[in-house]
Symmetry: C2
DNA sequence: CGCTAATCATTAGTGCACTAACTATTTTGA
DNA sequence: TCAAAATAGTTAGTGCACTAATGATTAGCG
């Protein structure tokens, strides 16, 4: 059984491996955790903050539109929007042209929250001790990873059909 | 402290900002999602896979030991271990020396699963189209980010500006 | 027109991750 | 020695993220 050249790296891969996906999930959780005290001041969770960023860019948007922008399922966004409505930041009403679609719209309160949020990015850069250049590098790496998973989905999913 | 030179970039930051934390969370979800079909063949979720990696490295471990290794709360690990026990991969019994502690131990089934898991790292590298060098670079970036959040927790919490 | 397809949003159900509160064991120190 | 503090693990409760199924509305086509 023991292949001198190959099996040695297989065992190491089960360690190295842990560093790849593991470091990524820990980094994600850690960064989101670092946002928490800052976003607590706004009364938002991190996913809710991302939705608000979406709406601050353009206000009447459908659920599908938001879920596409955030790369999440509509089923994930739905209850999240309900909480934002309860908090008074958005309204939810059926769209005029298409009664299937929902028009998610900022309230005055939701629009006003944007002013307080303008301080968040700078605060986070300071907290993490990063400059914009480092952030840009990390962003590039993440986008490459995301693109890699997309090609993985398309290419390796079902070659037999 | 509104700096006149900086105010122009504040609006842009609310877009750029989204690229930082947002790209990280999307990348994390995407990579975990890419693992799913591979880990489904082992009957493991991604967090369960990480626990098994832990135990394949050393078998009788306490809950606290595992939770430290994975940087998660014991309350997160606890129900996860219960499912792994139901699946027959581990046993849970009180430690001999300290009745408070739990000895989490691989079963024969759990140890055997390691053989099938040895193929996972190579499969994932191929699926993502990455080589070990790129993985190493990404890992370095993630570790720097994680370290940055740790210093953020320690340093920036108390001094009220 | 009327019937079927497709689309939009929601709900049900599973599993993760966290905080806070709780039980059960040590460990400690007056 | 024996009560208080510390430690180990679990449970309750909230929120996210996903898949699959449901209900409601619109679009397409014979």
């Amino acid at each position: 059984m023991p292949d001198p050249a190959g099996t040695a790296s297989v065992d190491e891969d089960l360690l190295l491996e842990r560093q790849l996906c593991f470091a990524l999930t820990v980094a994600s959780r850690s960064v989101v955790g670092a946002y928490k005290p800052v976003l607590d001041a706004l009364g938002l969770t991190h996913p809710q903050y991302l939705v608000m960023l979406c709406l601050w860019e353009s206000s009447p948007r459908s659920v599908r539109d938001i879920s596409d922008a955030l790369a999440q399922e509509p089923a994930t966004i739905s209850p999240l929007l309900r909480r934002l409505e309860v908090a008074g930041h958005i309204t939810r009403q059926r769209a005029e042209g298409d009664e299937r679609s929902l028009a998610v719209r900022l309230t005055a309160s939701g629009a006003a929250l944007r002013q307080k949020a303008t301080a968040v990015p700078g605060t986070m850069l300071a907290r993490l001790g990063l400059d914009r250049e480092e952030v840009a590098e990390l962003h590039t790496s993440m986008m490459r990873l995301i693109a890699a998973t997309r090609s993985a989905d398309n290419g390796a999913a079902s070659p037999a059909s």
